[in-house]
């Protein structure tokens, strides 16, 4: 009995620490800034344990029953904590912190209740100094075991969801074991030599034991189910991130494509990031295409890099002088989807099936290196520079390569993230283009789904905005266009470094700036 209880102290302690680590890891994953997350979570947890210990004085009778019930409760709450946090983050972004600290507090408090209870149960068997020394030893040993296993084995191999479910299972198994221990009919423990054997004071009445067993069974069922369906739960969490109905979802080798619909609004998400909303995408593509193309009456050959949704191509096709559009997009699934799915082809007006459009599913960088073709207009609609591979697409080396494909009077237009939310990133792209020898004309447009968005026209000469539009954009005309090339003080140029392959500063700027926005 004594060894069994000490072992359960070990398990209880390790489970407690595991929940704490999971909560801290999850919150640094979701909120960033791991130092703050870890220290506040650990602080809250320790404080809650103190509260639990203090509360334990109010439990006077039925120590064994309470211990077992607390154990089951910790198992269920702790076991599901990762799932709960994930779902809360996905569905209701507001109360995430509230739920986080609430959960940490409740588990901490329950674990804090347990240790004093065990001590009191054991005090009938051991001298006080023995109780304290042995219980605390096992408590700390359990913590040690998990703190080593968690980063090395558990988090990388099981993932956070399964790890938390697994520890929940451990808690419940300890509860079951305790029921068996306390519920033994004999309820006799061997006493020290010379003493009379006496009934264990903690023995459970049979009725209570079977009631507790039923509770355990339910908890076990829940946790085993959760463990098995952890992947499904992740998907459920994902659905919450997209508030609308998902009408298409696919994981391609390059990205996760999700199309959602709400009433007449179609939205495309790549890797969870909104790419367009059909309600206001025209503003985005107006700005990407028309200011440059309206100044190029002689333009015949257009290159689009990225832009597999065909929406930029749709705008370009409105100019009758255009003879060919080459569209290079890495992801075949993406261009197929936007060439075939009726809802989407209605949106891009079948642009990808136009005889003028040639779709190439290749790596834009490799293609530019291997292909000698020249173009009058190059539209660059790459994903934002959120990692080092994408950062290469905004580097001085890339823009030098691009320059080789631009005809004498040709222009390139680059979507360049938001000059409002990511001001340094935006002006870093401008500086990089200039370093590569381009003259630049930065401008911005308001797209309600994104906010203020930035673009840069790059060419060999000074860009003069068009005096008139042969094809009429919906979101601006020649007079109102002027304002787009002006930057108010909160978006005005800031000094930045040049984004080189060697320093990849843009990725660092971008991460810094968007992290601030997300918080």
């Amino acid at each position: 009995m004594r060894h069994a209880l000490l072992f359960s102290v070990f398990v209880v302690a390790s489970c407690g620490l595991a929940y704490e680590l999971i909560a801290a890891a999850l919150s640094s994953y979701v909120l960033g800034d791991s130092v703050t997350q870890f220290s506040t979570v650990i602080g809250t947890y320790l404080f809650a344990m103190g509260v639990g210990s203090w509360l334990s004085r109010y439990i006077e009778r039925g120590l064994a029953i309470r211990f077992i019930q607390i154990e089951i409760l910790v198992g269920v709450i702790g076991g599901f904590s990762a799932v709960i946090l994930f779902l809360v983050f996905a569905h209701l972004s507001g109360p995430f912190r509230l739920v986080l600290y609430g959960l940490v507090f409740v588990t901490g408090m329950l674990v804090g209740l347990e240790i004093p209870l065990i001590m009191r149960i054991l005090k009938n068997e051991l001298a006080f100094k023995e109780v304290v020394s042995q219980v605390l030893t096992f408590d700390y040993l359990g913590a040690l075991a998990v703190s080593i296993l968690f980063p090395l084995l558990l988090a990388p191999h099981l993932g956070l969801m399964r790890t938390s479910m697994m520890f929940g299972l451990f808690n419940v198994l300890v509860a079951l074991w305790a029921i068996a221990l306390f519920g033994r009919d004999s309820g006799i423990v061997p006493a020290a030599a010379g003493q009379v054997e006496r009934a264990a004071p903690m023995a459970l009445p049979p009725s209570a034991a079977s009631f507790l067993r039923a509770q355990c069974a339910i908890a076990l069922l829940l946790l085993v189910g959760g463990f098995a369906f952890a992947d499904k739960l992740t998907a459920l969490a994902e659905e919450g991130i997209y508030a609308d109905q998902i009408i298409y979802a696919e994981s391609t080798p390059y990205q996760r494509i999700v199309v959602t619909r709400w009433r007449d609004d179609l939205r495309l998400h790549l890797n969870g990031n909104l790419q367009f909303s059909s309600r206001d995408e025209y503003r985005y593509h107006d700005a990407l295409v028309h200011p440059a193309l309206a100044t190029l009456p002689g333009a015949k050959r257009v290159l689009i890099l990225g832009g597999g949704d065909g929406l930029a191509a749709r705008e370009v096709l409105r100019y009758p002088q255009i003879e060919s559009i080459t569209l290079v997009d890495l992801d075949r699934n993406m261009t197929n989807l936007f060439a075939k799915a009726p809802l989407l082809t209605a949106l891009n007006q079948n642009a990808l099936s136009s005889p003028k459009v040639k779709v190439l599913n290749q790596d834009a960088l490799l293609w530019l290196e291997q292909n000698p073709d020249m173009f009058d207009l190059i539209l660059i609609d790459f994903p934002d520079p959120s990692n080092f591979s994408l950062g290469k697409l905004y580097s001085s080396a890339f823009y030098r390569l691009l320059e080789k494909h631009l005809s004498a009077t040709g222009l390139a237009v680059i979507q360049s993230t938001s000059p409002y939310y990511a001001r340094k990133s935006f002006w870093c792209i401008v500086a990089t283009l200039e370093d590569a020898g381009f003259r630049t004309a930065p401008y911005h447009a308001y797209v309600p789904s994104f906010g203020e968005w930035g673009y840069i026209i790059a060419g060999r000469g000074t860009f003069v905005p068009p005096a008139a539009f042969p094809v009429v954009p919906r979101s601006f005309d020649a007079p109102s266009l002027k304002a787009l090339f002006e930057f108010p003080p909160d978006m005005a140029r800031v000094p930045t470094e040049v984004n080189r392959l060697n320093n990849q500063v843009l990725v660092r700027y971008f991460e810094e700036e968007w992290r601030r926005v997300m918080r």
Binding site: P156, D363, K392, R500, N503
Partner: protein, 549 residues
């Protein structure tokens, strides 16, 4: 694991893209330098192979077991050895308008320790893989880089402009420690006291960088022959790097690891086996800058320094008629007054020719010279015998996709392992301009330091090579548990004499003097001249020899 015939692992024709395959057909020279087998432990199946200079050839050289020369020819200048040193000597001669030379290389390809292989996916290094930004003293390295199109402008300036594609792309390096990858090589998450030591160490190095002797020489110049002879710094050669650290009050385990790593990376020897002068040289000599790169940047290419040797080879081929004889081994050397005779065994013709030369530039390792030189001055052999060479094992892992890991630092160019006898690996496709991460080659470096070099060499060759492959994979499975699943092929190369070890005392040892003082018909050009196996040293030794010849 089933040992199969060498050819079946590469079902392609013998002229397949892999240059090493051809080695196998170099029949006359050796027992197979190449063997292969399949590994089938569990579902994923990958192929393994081993390469390296054949041992049988070494034996043949030792016993001088070659046909007698069938004829004698005259030659103005002979260069023996086609590594960085030999190629640099040839380049320097050609630049000075001297084209009456011939370079003899025993292998079927030039490059020596900087040679490279290639696959359908990418070229990759078999040895040297990077060059730090050249300092101002490295005038010849800069001139060579300018000739090869790597240095674009500002050759005499503090910060020249280099080809952006050759400058290492970010992220440059990361370190695997305590189950996670961190950015940079200096261990993070250490005690504050250790951070203080990092800072103090950096300040000490900075002071060495700034100082100059009475003649304006830097204490740790690269090339090292131009370094100050001031006894206040050369006396550092009397102690080893580890002891020096301790004597300066450094006890941070992380700093000790970092310095040990640096010694193993540059010289293949542990800090306790490395002269403190050489150890400090690593940190204090590399202060080259570029206008278009960060200060700690290096130059690198998918095939490593094999890019430089290949481009030098091409540069020479465009300017000099028949500059090279490959498959040509120097088996004997006799020096006379104003001439030297070398016996070259042309393996592809299975015959020997004696060349009577006005000058011989020796750009092969010193231990080979000691073996083939018939009439050296008496102190030469014992002096050179002091040079110990550390064996290296290099493995190339051909992967179907980049390896997955825990992060959080993403895959970098140089990926270093904290608790490993090996250094870690570089990623051949890191410099390739592409977005989609795809198939790649990892080059894993393992200097066999820590035991007597001769014993380590014996173990390297006596242990069956599939065991080495298993050891490499076991090490890499720590950060990448699933690596075997994406492994297409793994090849290892055993460099028996990888690098000379700059042990304490090397700076003033008779060996350096014996090699540097060779004059007359025979001059010494191999990087052994400096005792430090580095591109800059090999280049300088080659240029110096060309100017003396």
């Amino acid at each position: 694991m089933a040992a199969r015939d060498a050819l079946s692992a590469h079902p392609a024709d013998p002229q397949s893209t892999h240059p090493m395959d051809r080695r196998r057909f170099l029949t006359a020279l050796s027992a197979p330098a190449f063997a292969a087998c399949d590994f089938k432990n569990g579902a994923p199946e990958f192929k393994g192979a081993v390469f390296g200079p054949a041992m049988a050839l070494g034996h043949r050289l030792r016993n001088n077991d070659f046909p007698a020369p069938a004829e004698t020819r005259n030659l103005d200048i002979a260069i023996v050895g086609g590594g960085v040193a030999g190629l640099s000597a040839a380049w320097r001669l050609a630049k000075r308008g001297i084209k009456t030379f011939r370079l003899f290389e025993l292998e079927d390809a030039l490059g020596g320790n900087s040679r490279a292989g290639s696959s359908a996916v990418t070229p990759y290094p078999w040895g040297a893989h990077y060059l730090p930004l050249p300092t101002r003293e490295s005038v010849h390295v800069r001139a060579l880089l300018a000739d090869l199109g790597v240095l674009k402008s500002g050759i005499d300036s503090d910060s020249p402009v280099y080809d952006e594609r050759a400058i290492v792309n970010g992220p440059q390096d990361r370190l695997y420690r305590n189950g996670l990858w961190q950015e940079g090589l200096l261990p993070r998450m250490v005690a504050p006291k250790e951070l203080d030591q990092y800072k103090r160490f950096e300040e000490l190095i900075e002071r060495f960088k700034q100082s100059q002797d009475l003649f304006g020489r830097k204490p740790f110049a690269i090339p090292s022959l131009l370094a100050s002879r001031d006894v206040r710094t050369t006396s550092l050669d009397a102690t080893d790097m580890r002891r020096w650290l301790v004597s300066q009050g450094f006890d941070s385990p992380a700093l000790h690891w970092y310095v040990d790593y640096a010694c193993r990376d540059d010289y293949g020897s542990l800090s306790r086996d490395t002269s403190a002068w050489a150890g400090l040289h690593y940190f204090a000599s590399r202060e080259g800058r570029a206008k278009n790169a960060d200060t700690h940047a290096v130059l690198t290419w998918p095939e490593g320094n094999g890019f430089l040797t290949r481009r030098t080879e091409e540069w020479l081929q465009e300017r000099v008629a028949e500059p090279f004889s490959r498959n040509s081994l120097c088996a004997k050397l006799v020096t006379g007054r104003g001439f030297a005779e070398i016996d070259i065994f042309h393996a592809d013709q299975n015959r020997s020719v004696r060349y009577r030369c006005k000058r011989v530039i020796w750009a092969a390792p010193s231990f080979v010279l000691a073996r083939v030189w018939d009439n050296p001055p008496p102190p030469f052999r014992p002096a050179v015998a002091d040079i110990q060479t550390v064996p290296w094992l290099v493995a190339n892992l051909h992967l179907r996709e980049p390896p997955a890991d825990t992060g959080p630092a993403p895959l970098a160019w140089d990926n270093v392992l904290y608790n490993s006898n090996a250094l870690g690996y570089v990623v051949a496709t890191h410099q390739v301009l592409r977005v989609r991460p795809g198939a790649t080659v990892l080059t894993y470096y393992w200097p066999h330091s820590g035991e007597a070099p001769a014993a380590a060499r014996k173990r390297l060759f006596d242990t069956p090579w599939p065991e080495w492959i298993k050891a490499v994979l076991a090490d890499l499975k720590r950060p990448h548990p699933d690596i075997a699943k994406i492994l297409e092929r793994i090849e290892i190369w055993r460099w028996g004499h990888g690098m000379p070890q700059p042990s304490p005392g090397f700076l003033n040892a008779p060996a350096r003097a014996a090699l540097a003082n060779l004059k007359g018909p025979l001059v010494f050009a191999h990087s052994d001249l400096s005792g430090m196996s580095l591109f800059e040293e090999a280049n300088y030794a080659g240029v110096r020899a060309a100017d003396l010849a």
